[in-house]
C-alpha cells in the first residue's frame, strides 16, 4: 500500500526534498571510465605535492632535450605566461573581479625593473632589490587603481581597469617627453622606442645570461609563486575570496570585509604581474610599449579561462595550450598539420553515431574530389593556384580547389564559413550532419586560401577570440574548474 501512496516519479524528474546536484555527485565521478576516468580519479586523489611533481619533472627534463630556440619559444614564454596567469587567477579566479588592466601591472613591473637597471637610464641595481621594487611599484599602483574602484560592481571595475590599461600604453608611449610639472623633461619610459639595453638579472654575483639559465630561474620563480598561491588559496583569506566570488552579498552577510578582500585580491594579482614583468624585462633586455597591449590581455585571459578560473593546475595546462598551439601555427607547414589534425579529431569525437560519421567523412571527401574533377575539366582557373609548401599541403591540393585568383573568393568563403557554423549550431539531427559537409569544405577552403597565409598575425588571434566564445558556451568552468552549483 505504501508504494502506491508515494507518487511514481520518473527517474529523470527532480525529486522533492532531495538536492539533485548533491545526490548525483558520486554518479558524476563514476561516469568517467577507461583511461580518462582512471587519470581523473588519480588526479583527484593525489596529494598536492604529487600533482606539482607531475608538472615539475617534465619541465625540468625539457631543457635537456631541446634546442635553444625551442626552449625559448615553448619553454620560457610558456612559463612567463603561466606566471602571469597565476596572478590573474587570483583576481579573476579566486575573487571573481574582472580586471582588464592586468597587463598594465605587468608593464609597470618591466618598466620599473628597466628604469633601475639598464644602460638607458644609467642605473644598475642588482636583481633582488630591483625585482622587489618592481613588485612594490606594481602593488602600489594596483592599490591606487583598486582603491576607488573597489566599491564598484563587476562591470564598472572592468571598464575602469580597461581604460587604465589603455592609459598605461599611452603613458609609456609618450613618457619620454612629459613636459609639465613635476616632470620637467624627464625621460621615464623611453617613449615609442621603449627602454632598451636592460641589464640581465644579477643575483648574488651570478649573472643570468643564457636562455637555459633564464628558464631555470623562471621555473624557480614559478614554483615559488605556485606554492605560495596554493597556501593562500587554502588559507582563511583564500576561502573568503572564493566565498566572495560565489556570492558577494552572502559573503557580506557573513561579516566578511568585502571591500578589503577585493582590494587585497586586486593588489595581490598586481604584485605577481609586477614580478613576472621584471623577469620579462630582463629576458627581453628591453621593455617596449607594443608588448603590453590588448593582445596579451586576451591571451592571458584565454589561459585562465581555458584552464578553469580558480584552478592552479588549469593555469599550467592553459598556458601550454594557448602558447603552444599558436607557436606551432607560426610555421605554415606545421599549421597545416595542426589544422587538419584538429579538424579530424573534432569530427571523430563529436559526430555520433557511426552512420553520421561515415556520411560526414565520405561526403566531405567526395565533395572535394568531385569539385576538383569538375574544375579540372571545365574551369582550370579554379585549380591553377600554387599549393602551399609541405607534404600535407601537397596531398590536400588533390582535394581542395586552389583558385589562382583567390583573394576575393577566399574572403567570401571566410564569411560564408562563419555563417555556416552559426547555422550549424541551430540545426539538429540529420540536417546538421548534411550541412556539416559543406561547412567543413568551405572552412578548409578559407583556411587553405586565406588563413594559412596570415598565421603569424590575424589568424591565431581570431582563433583565440573564437576559442573564448566557444569555450564560454560549451564549458564555462574551463578544463579543470568545478562547475558552479546553482541552488535556488
Amino acid at each position: 500500500m505504501a508504494d502506491e501512496l508515494t507518487p511514481q516519479v520518473p527517474p529523470d524528474q527532480p525529486r522533492i526534498g532531495v538536492d539533485e546536484w548533491v545526490a548525483s555527485v558520486e554518479g558524476k565521478r563514476e561516469r568517467y571510465r577507461g583511461p580518462v576516468g582512471w587519470l581523473r580519479r588519480g588526479w583527484d586523489t593525489a596529494p598536492a605535492g604529487a600533482r606539482l611533481l607531475a608538472f615539475v619533472i617534465p619541465a625540468a627534463i625539457f631543457p635537456l632535450v631541446t634546442t635553444e630556440g625551442n626552449l625559448f619559444r615553448y619553454g620560457l614564454i610558456t612559463l612567463l605566461y603561466a606566471l602571469l596567469g597565476l596572478g590573474l587567477n587570483v583576481t579573476v579566479g579566486f575573487a571573481g573581479l574582472l580586471d582588464l588592466g592586468y597587463i598594465a601591472f605587468f608593464g609597470f613591473g618591466a618598466y620599473t625593473y628597466g628604469y633601475v637597471a639598464s644602460v638607458h637610464t644609467g642605473h644598475h641595481w642588482p636583481a633582488v632589490p630591483a625585482i622587489l621594487l618592481a613588485i612594490a611599484v606594481a602593488a602600489l599602483i594596483g592599490f591606487i587603481v583598486g582603491f576607488p574602484s573597489r566599491r564598484l560592481v563587476g562591470d564598472y571595475l572592468a571598464i575602469v581597469t580597461l581604460f587604465f590599461g589603455q592609459a598605461f600604453v599611452v603613458f609609456v608611449n609618450n613618457g619620454d617627453r612629459i613636459n609639465f610639472w613635476p616632470f620637467n623633461r624627464t625621460d621615464l619610459t623611453g617613449g615609442a622606442n621603449g627602454l632598451d639595453n636592460i641589464d640581465p638579472l644579477k643575483l648574488f654575483g651570478w649573472t643570468v645570461n643564457t636562455t637555459k639559465e633564464y628558464y631555470w630561474f623562471t621555473l624557480g620563480a614559478f614554483l615559488l609563486v605556485i606554492i605560495l598561491l596554493y597556501l593562500v588559496s587554502e588559507s582563511r583569506t583564500g576561502r573568503a575570496w572564493k566565498a566572495l566570488r560565489e556570492d558577494p552579498l552572502a559573503a557580506e552577510v557573513m561579516s566578511m570585509p568585502v571591500n578589503r578582500l577585493k582590494l587585497m585580491a586586486f593588489v595581490f594579482g598586481a604584485a605577481i604581474a609586477g614580478f613576472a614583468g621584471a623577469i620579462y624585462g630582463s629576458v627581453q633586455t628591453g621593455a617596449f610599449p607594443g608588448d603590453f597591449d590588448v593582445g596579451l590581455l586576451i591571451t592571458i585571459y584565454a589561459i585562465v579561462i581555458l584552464g578553469g578560473a580558480g584552478s592552479l593546475a588549469g593555469v599550467i595546462v592553459g598556458a601550454l595550450v594557448v602558447n603552444g598551439v599558436p607557436e606551432l601555427l607560426r610555421d605554415p607547414n606545421q599549421a597545416e598539420w595542426v589544422f587538419y589534425t584538429a579538424l579530424v579529431l573534432l569530427v571523430l569525437t563529436k559526430v555520433r553515431p557511426w552512420q553520421k560519421l561515415v556520411t560526414v567523412v565520405g561526403g566531405t571527401l567526395a565533395l572535394g574530389f568531385a569539385l576538383v574533377a569538375i574544375a579540372d575539366a571545365w574551369f582550370p582557373r579554379w585549380t591553377a593556384g600554387e599549393p602551399n609548401t609541405g607534404k600535407l599541403a601537397h596531398w590536400v591540393s588533390h582535394w581542395m580547389l586552389l583558385p589562382s585568383h583567390a583573394t576575393q573568393i577566399a574572403n567570401w568563403a571566410y564569411a560564408l564559413t562563419i555563417a555556416l557554423i552559426l547555422v550549424l549550431t541551430l540545426l539538429r539531427g540529420w540536417w546538421r550532419t548534411i550541412v556539416m559537409i559543406p561547412t567543413i569544405y568551405v572552412g578548409a577552403f578559407a583556411w587553405e586560401n586565406l588563413l594559412v597565409e596570415q598565421t603569424v598575425g590575424a589568424t591565431r588571434f581570431l582563433l583565440l577570440g573564437a576559442l573564448l566564445v566557444v569555450l564560454m558556451n560549451a564549458r564555462p568552468q574551463g578544463l579543470f574548474g568545478t562547475a558552479r552549483v546553482e541552488i535556488v
Partner: protein, 308 residues
C-alpha cells in the same frame, strides 16, 4: 581668451561627442536590459565604418558616384545601419543568449572574445592599411560660419543627424509598443515575460537598434575624419562606454549627455591642458574616475537598490 580657438574646439568636441553619444546609446540600452557590458560594441562601430566605405565604392566611389552625393550619403548610412543591426542580432543570438543564465563573468569573457574575433577578422579581410572616405571629393569642402563659429558640411551633417537619431530613439522608446516592451524588460525581465512580452524578441530588437546606431556613428566618424582602420573600434568603444558610465548607465538621456561631455572634454583637453594632444585620453580617464568617485551611479543614473 582666444574665442576662435574656443569655438573650434567646441565644434569639434560636439562632433566627436555626437559620435560617442551614439555609441554610448548602444551600450546603455543593452546594459539596461541584460546588465551585460557588450565589449564587442566598439567593433560593431568599426564594421559600420567599413560597411559605409563598401557602400560608397559599390555606388561608384567618391570621385565619380553613380547618384547625387546626398543620396549616396543616405544610402551609406542605411546600408551600414542595416548591416550592423544584423551583426548585432547575430552576436546576441550566438554569443550571449546561450549564456543568459550563466555566472556574470561568462558573457563578459564571451564579449571579449567576440571583440577580438571581429577585430582580427577585419584585419584579415580588409587588411592592415588605412582606408579613406575622401569626403572632400564626395561633398566638397564648403563651410558655414556665424561670426567666429565655423562648421564644415560633414560636421554639420554629423551633429544634425545624430540629434535626429536621438530624437527618433527617444520617440521609439517612449511612444511605440516595442519601446514600452523594452522599458518593461529592462525594469524586470522576469515579470515582463510573465506579462506575455516576448523577451527574446525585445532583446534582439534592442541589439538591432543599438548596433544600427553604432554603425551610423562609424559612418559619421569616417565622414568627418576620413580614415578608417581595423583597430579604430577599440578606443571609440572605450570612450562610448565611458560616456555611458558618466551619464549614468541604463539611462538614455544620460548616454547622450555623457557622450557630449566626453567629446567636449577630449576636445578641450587637446586645446588647453598641458600636452593635451598626446595625453587627451588620460584626461578623459581622469574625468571618468572623478565622476565615479563623486557620483558612482553617473550624472543621470539612479542608485542601484538591491533587493534580496
Amino acid at each position: 581668451m582666444n574665442w576662435s580657438l574656443f569655438w573650434d574646439l567646441t565644434v569639434s568636441g560636439l562632433t566627436l561627442g555626437s559620435v560617442y553619444a551614439l555609441i554610448a546609446l548602444g551600450y546603455t540600452m543593452v546594459y539596461g536590459i541584460l546588465k551585460l557590458l557588450n565589449f564587442a560594441h566598439g567593433d560593431v562601430y568599426m564594421i559600420g565604418a567599413f560597411m559605409g566605405w563598401f557602400a560608397l565604392h559599390w555606388l561608384g566611389g567618391p570621385v565619380n558616384p553613380s547618384a547625387t552625393a546626398w543620396l549616396v550619403v543616405v544610402l551609406m548610412f542605411l546600408f551600414a545601419m542595416v548591416a550592423c543591426g544584423g551583426l548585432g542580432v547575430a552576436i546576441e543570438r550566438f554569443a550571449y543568449r546561450p549564456l543568459r543564465n550563466a555566472p556574470r563573468i561568462a558573457p563578459l569573457i564571451s564579449a571579449l572574445g567576440v571583440s577580438f574575433f571581429l577585430q582580427n577578422s577585419a584585419l584579415l579581410l580588409f587588411g592592415a592599411s588605412f582606408r579613406d572616405y575622401d569626403t572632400f571629393h564626395l561633398i566638397g569642402a564648403k563651410t558655414y560660419n556665424y561670426k567666429d563659429i565655423f562648421l564644415s558640411v560633414p560636421q554639420l551633417l554629423t551633429i544634425v543627424s545624430a540629434i535626429g537619431l536621438m530624437i527618433g530613439l527617444t520617440l521609439l522608446v517612449a511612444r511605440t509598443k516595442i519601446g514600452k516592451a523594452m522599458r518593461a524588460t529592462s525594469f524586470d525581465r522576469e515579470a515582463a515575460s510573465m506579462m506575455g512580452i516576448d523577451v527574446d524578441r525585445v532583446i534582439a530588437s534592442t541589439f538591432f537598434i543599438g548596433s544600427a546606431l553604432a554603425g551610423a556613428a562609424g559612418v559619421m566618424f569616417a565622414l568627418v575624419f576620413g580614415q578608417i582602420y581595423h583597430f579604430m573600434g577599440f578606443l571609440a568603444g572605450l570612450k562610448g562606454f565611458t560616456a555611458a558610465v558618466i551619464g549614468g548607465i541604463g539611462s538614455i538621456p544620460g548616454a547622450m549627455l555623457g557622450g557630449l561631455l566626453v567629446g567636449l572634454a577630449e576636445s578641450y583637453a587637446t586645446g588647453y591642458l598641458p600636452q593635451g594632444s598626446t595625453f587627451q585620453n588620460l584626461y578623459v580617464f581622469a574625468l571618468l574616475i572623478l565622476i565615479i568617485l563623486i557620483r558612482p551611479s553617473g550624472l543621470l543614473g539612479k542608485a542601484d537598490v538591491k533587493k534580496v
